[in-house]
């Protein structure tokens, strides 16, 4: 494998002690280059950002309790210690650029001297917040494909020096004596030269905000903080009730609860949508994708500009996301998974590198971008279907589980022999005593429940039938393509050379219906965010053939 081969070569380079010695002698490790003079400020900000939750809580607690203010003292001394650490850390940090490697000396008590061969650096990621821009500096992360930390983290450099550094690293990459087999798919990119491939408009970012749920996290965090400070606007819900009572004139009965519920829900949805649009604009404002020789580079962000660059041949997997809302807007999202992106989950203080080819593009653009970077033209690909009875398997368990719950509820009510009061009781148990009473007075509950179940059944059968029909896989000489889902659809485009292992699996239910599943394991991504590259509910023989074919292609 190409990336693997280079890895091995790079490791080889790293483990040879005489080479390290030679490098050390070549550049006399006494001098060295320092970080930017204001680096300590940025290290401090990053440290404080990591501690923001405990520090805020301590300060808030200090304000609440009218003690002698030891909390404030504690917070201040913590900040002082952190500043001292940041200052020492950045003042003792040194780095050297050798002809083929970067040498970094860092650490306060535990000093390390790290040699990072340029060939080992696979992704370069940068981040520039408003503060960085004020000082004209940038934070640079140099990542290899493995490990849990970036190979080197330079906080911070002037923009000019960072550019120069990156060019030196890249220059070494292109003139390397190491075997550098260029796969056919990168040819498309090389012929283009450096140019702007894609840009996302503000209008598309609003669409992205309407589709994505990023705002949920922001709202949740805000709610959490407000609940800690006793500023939570609980009165809002009471106000809604009052408004329905006085202005709409519905004071009692199910209609009151229905109206209040619908208004509250609409309000929550609206707030989350607005927050999501805000987050989308904050994160992806002025999203640009460039192609430079054989590399792809992105940058985006409103206040904090961030981005990264990678070789097209380094991409472990492409993800094309589609779904109901995407279809309504006639848009798709094209993501990439890079080796080492797993590593960047833990700290949210560092740059995240390249994650999207485009967060929001028209289907034609998204397909073209993926075709450019991977060489796979999705529109020309005919998917192999799932087992003809796949949808029945998908539908079965949701129907049974929900059906049992509905039945249990109806039985419970029947046993109580007081149908409506029974349900009213169930609802009051969940905290809405008024709502419970309201339902107990209305005359339709049992029917509503039964009809709701029928509607659910129709919906789920329709949904899974569409989903099973839309799902499938295709195998080309170079790539495995997996598509799954309909209302929320995700297509994996996996270079076969990146497959780490192939699993053929069968549950007892699969065996009964003569189906099987094929999973492929990838080198990176995040277990939470990257959907598993798996084809479920294949006919057994097809699954076996697919696994065998992947075996021959991924070795």
């Amino acid at each position: 494998m190409i990336p693997n081969g280079e890895n091995q070569a790079a490791e080889q380079l790293q483990v040879q002690p005489e080479m390290r010695l030679a490098a050390a002698q070549r550049i006399e490790l006494t001098g060295g280059e320092r970080l930017h003079a204001f680096s300590w400020l940025f290290v401090l900000v990053a440290q404080l950002w990591n501690l923001i939750v405990p520090l805020t809580l301590v300060l808030v607690a200090g304000r609440m309790s009218k003690d002698d203010g030891w909390e404030t003292f504690f917070a201040l001394s913590a900040a002082l210690v952190l500043s001292a650490y940041s200052l020492f850390y950045t003042q003792t940090f040194r780095f050297w650029m050798a002809s083929d490697e970067l040498i970094v000396k860092e650490g306060l008590f535990n000093r390390t001297l790290r040699h990072v061969p340029f060939t080992r650096i696979q992704n370069v990621a940068f981040r520039q917040s408003l503060l960085h821009r004020l000082f004209g500096v940038v934070e640079l992360n140099l990542e290899s494909g493995a490990g849990t930390k970036p190979e080197a983290k330079l906080t911070v450099l002037t923009m000019a020096r960072a550019r120069q550094l990156e060019q030196e690293i890249r220059g070494s990459l292109s003139s390397s004596t190491l075997p550098e087999a260029a796969p056919a798919d990168s040819v498309a990119v090389t012929t283009l030269g450096a140019r702007l491939l894609h840009q996302v408009s503000l209008f598309d970012l609003i669409r992205l905000g309407l589709i994505s749920n990023r705002g949920m996290i922001a709202i949740g965090t805000a709610f959490y903080f407000l609940s800690q400070t006793r500023l939570l606007p609980t009165n809002v819900f009471k106000d809604i009730g009052r408004w329905v009572k006085t202005d709409v004139g519905v004071a009692h009965g199910p209609l009151f609860w229905l109206l209040s519920g619908v208004i509250t829900l609409a309000m929550i949805i609206a707030v989350v949508r607005v927050a999501s649009i805000g987050m989308a604009i904050f994160l992806f404002y002025d999203f640009k994708l460039f192609a430079e020789s054989d590399r792809l580079r992105v940058e985006h962000g409103l206040l904090t500009r961030q981005g990264g660059a990678t070789k097209a041949s380094r991409i472990v997997c492409f993800l094309l996301r589609d779904g109901l809302l995407y279809r309504w807007f006639n848009r798709q999202s094209a993501e990439v998974v890079l080796p080492g992106s797993l590593a960047l989950e833990d700290g949210n203080s560092g740059p995240k590198g390249m994650r999207y080819l485009s967060p929001m593009a028209s289907p034609e653009q998204a397909n073209a971008l993926i075709a450019l970077a991977s060489g796979v033209s999705l529109s020309d690909i005919q998917l192999e279907p799932l087992h003809a009875r796949a949808w029945r398997r998908m539908v079965k368990w949701p129907l049974i589980i929900v059906g049992v719950q509905v039945l249990a509820m109806l039985t419970f009510l029947a046993i109580k022999n007081q149908w409506l009061e029974g349900l009213g009781f169930v609802i009051s148990l969940s905290g809405f005593s008024g709502l419970g009473k309201a339902f107990a007075h209305s005359g339709l509950v049992g029917m509503v429940l039964a009809f709701a179940y029928i509607a659910f059944a129709i919906w789920i059968v329709y949904g899974y039938k569409r989903s099973a029909a839309a799902s499938g896989f295709a195998l080309t000489l170079t790539h495995l393509i997996i598509r799954s889902g309909y209302f929320s659809q995700c297509s994996h485009i996996v270079p076969r050379g990146e497959i780490q292992s192939v699993t053929l699996s069968q549950s007892p239910f699969d065996r009964r219906s003569q189906m099987a599943n094929v999973h492929v394991d990838l080198r990176a991504g995040s277990a939470l965010e990257t959907p598993e590259a798996a084809v479920h509910y294949l006919p057994e023989a097809v699954a076996r053939d697919l696994a065998a074919a992947l075996r021959t292609g991924s070795g």
Binding site: M1, I2, L477, T503, S505, R523, A549, R551
Partner: protein
């Protein structure tokens, strides 16, 4: 194996004594409900005969499971990688290409040491399937398997873009035994190196028309 998902591959079985390990772990889980059962029996005045009946039934099921788990577990060292089959109810076959093996470990747990057994742990760089464990090997088998698995194309040789070609067309040095060669494993010397002529092409692998 008649019930193998992949019938064409001849599998090696592991030491039958691994059944004891499986049974031990299974018994621990299966006998845990004895505690609440005992409490309930006392509280509601149930017959105390329930306890031994449950224990015997559970032990019987666990024993059956352990036997089945051993029978279902199989591995094969192929020319292109490691093939592993496992699972009684939820069955799976995993294939790890030789090039994808990051590193290997030979482990000896306390029970393993007592019985003179070893485990081979094969690590990959994957996200979900990060390591595969082959228990119930003799020490010699584990080491031979490891040495064999780590044999690969020389690192300094130019590396061809493998993902563009089916493996049969690759000029890979076949300095590894072909499938089936490993069956009489007890005879394998851990230090023995298998040097087949490099012109020997790997056996043709099954291909899917695409």
């Amino acid at each position: 194996m008649t019930n193998s998902l992949e019938a064409t591959i001849e599998l090696n079985q592991i030491d039958p004594r691994t059944r004891y390990f499986t049974a031990l772990g299974g018994l621990f889980l299966a006998l845990l409900p004895l505690i609440p059962l005992w409490v309930l029996s006392i509280k509601f005045d149930w017959s105390l005969w329930l306890l031994p009946i449950y224990a015997v039934l559970a032990a019987g099921l666990v024993a059956r499971y352990a036997v089945a788990a051993h029978a279902r577990f199989g591995y094969a060292l192929l020319d292109d990688g490691l093939w592993l089959q496992r699972g009684v109810y939820w069955r799976s076959c995993v294939f790890v290409p030789r090039e994808r093996v990051q590193h290997t470990e030979v482990n000896h747990g306390p029970l393993d040491r007592k019985m003179g057994l070893a485990k081979l742990v094969v690590h990959t760089a994957g996200l979900r399937q990060q390591h595969l464990i082959i228990p119930g090997l003799t020490d010699a088998q584990a080491h031979a398997l490891r040495d064999n698995l780590l044999k690969r194309a020389p690192i300094h040789a130019p590396i061809a873009p493998v993902n563009l070609l089916p493996i049969a067309e690759l000029n890979m040095p076949a300095d590894v035994p072909l499938e089936g060669d490993l069956v009489p494993q007890a005879d394998l010397d851990p230090k023995m190196s298998v040097d087949l002529p490099s012109e020997l092409a790997p056996s043709p692998s099954p291909k899917l028309a695409v």
